[in-house]
Symmetry: C2
Subunit: 275 residues, 2 copies
């Protein structure tokens, strides 16, 4: 099995790649990880300019000898190439799995919108740098290689349609050419490094739009590394989620085991079938 | 003439009010500024809880002995009450002028959406604390009292429809019950204290949505207090604005004299008629 890694947003380091290669070699003898050199490129904020990031992703996605695309890292930049990338993907890309989160929510959205069947929110190569990062990497590989059920967020219910996003990333792709049809879905959101007032504002935006589109509800991953403001906001993250769900007529789906940390579990997009 | 001040988002201090009263007393003998005590209230992040902020605004807007509503300050919170506030406003409110910016973009949007005729983006009471803040306060009063043309952003053109917003505020109200019809408008945006990658992301979101709604174009106020990131973004704010306007088929309307500073000039919403 061959998994290709590209970086539609920001770059990883060769050390990151080497550490992940070492983990993969120990646990998965048959597995080949192919890091596109674009993963280590630099152009301002990005891992190469738009054209280079686009080409690396599309070339790898269209190769028939590669089974899955694993996104290297989040950051920012995928929204600049996601629609064009998916439009350039042929039949060989459609059979592949795609895994990532954070800014790669833009890629997951565009792929899911276009009917790709194996799109999932879950750990990336850059998670190797987290505390217990090995767990995240092995979970990602377990899902990519064998779709192991133990990799999935344990709260997923049979018969429910899911999608999962970083809240701000989802917020910024609503109404754009990247937005997938989320009617009837339980949409899971997580957040990191945002003030609670910004979380509240984005929840207003996302819940308003999802309710208008006929989504079923919203569930909450972890809300971590919240900066301390000059005064307390007055509500906690879960209270904010419950408030906006109730106000917008969405089901509040409770907490989910996803987030910007090593415990981030996998959420495949679409109808969940247990067992 | 009587102008009422309420704070749909965060609070000002009695010192702010006193300083602005002193300025008004020197220049405008006939003018009465009525600060609702809600302006100084505190509830977590907000100038009083949602119900209190809502009541203060609606009560003042519906008083027939008051000519204008001047928003005290931005921050965050207006999106939580804006739609309900406008829905509770009667005929006496419709003749009034409303002035503010930043988070009050939520109020301006909801008012303009509902057909209010005297809605404008411009300085607020809290601007008294800026360097040369007196200029901003006097400009606001000149517009509220006499609609003096010298208060307007000098770039406004006769025959063009305008609206003006903080970019992130506009981003977060798109697709919600606050979004006004901006078809055919030149939409001016300004930004403060956002990383350039976040500015780029929000510009993608806003330009995509405005193009889909048939807006004419986007123009750019000041983009100030940009935090330094761990690496340079690679494009300046105006380059970003030009890029997304071109990509989305919007006219780029150039620079406008608005922003989070004392030079912030007034932009009335709707069709601009010079002279």
């Amino acid at each position: 099995m061959r998994i290709a890694i590209t970086a539609p947003s920001t770059a990883i380091t060769p050390d990151d790649a080497e550490a992940v290669q070492a983990l993969a070699a120990m646990g998965y003898g048959e597995l080949e990880l192919i890091f596109d050199p674009q993963c280590f490129a630099s152009h301002g904020h990005f891992a190469g300019d738009d054209a280079r990031r686009l080409k690396a992703l599309v070339d790898m996605a269209n190769r028939s000898d590669i089974d899955a695309i694993w996104f290297a890292k989040g950051g920012y930049g995928a929204c600049r190439i996601a629609a064009q990338a998916v439009a350039a993907m042929g039949p060989a890309a459609r059979g592949k799995a795609f895994l990532g989160y954070s800014d790669q929510g833009n890629m997951l959205a565009a792929l899911y919108r276009d009917g790709f069947d194996h799109v999932a929110h879950g750990p990336m190569v850059s998670d190797i740098n987290r505390d217990r990062g090995d767990d995240a990497i092995l979970r990602a590989l377990d899902w990519l290689v064998s779709r192991s059920p133990s990799t999935l967020a344990p709260e997923l219910r049979h018969g429910t349609r899911y999608a999962a996003f970083n809240l701000m990333t989802l917020s910024m792709l609503l109404g754009t050419e990247l937005e997938p049809d989320l009617a009837g879905h339980m949409v899971i959101v997580e957040e990191v490094s945002e003030y609670l007032y910004a979380f509240d504002r984005a929840f207003f935006h996302v819940a308003s739009n999802l309710a208008a589109r006929g989504a079923a509800g919203m569930a909450l991953g972890r809300v971590s590394a919240v900066p301390e403001n000059d005064r307390p906001f007055g509500m906690e993250a879960e209270e904010i989620a419950r408030y906006w769900c109730a106000k917008m007529g969405l089901i509040y789906g409770g907490r989910m085991n996803i987030g910007h940390d090593a415990d981030n579990h996998v959420v495949p997009f679409g109808l969940h079938r247990a067992g």
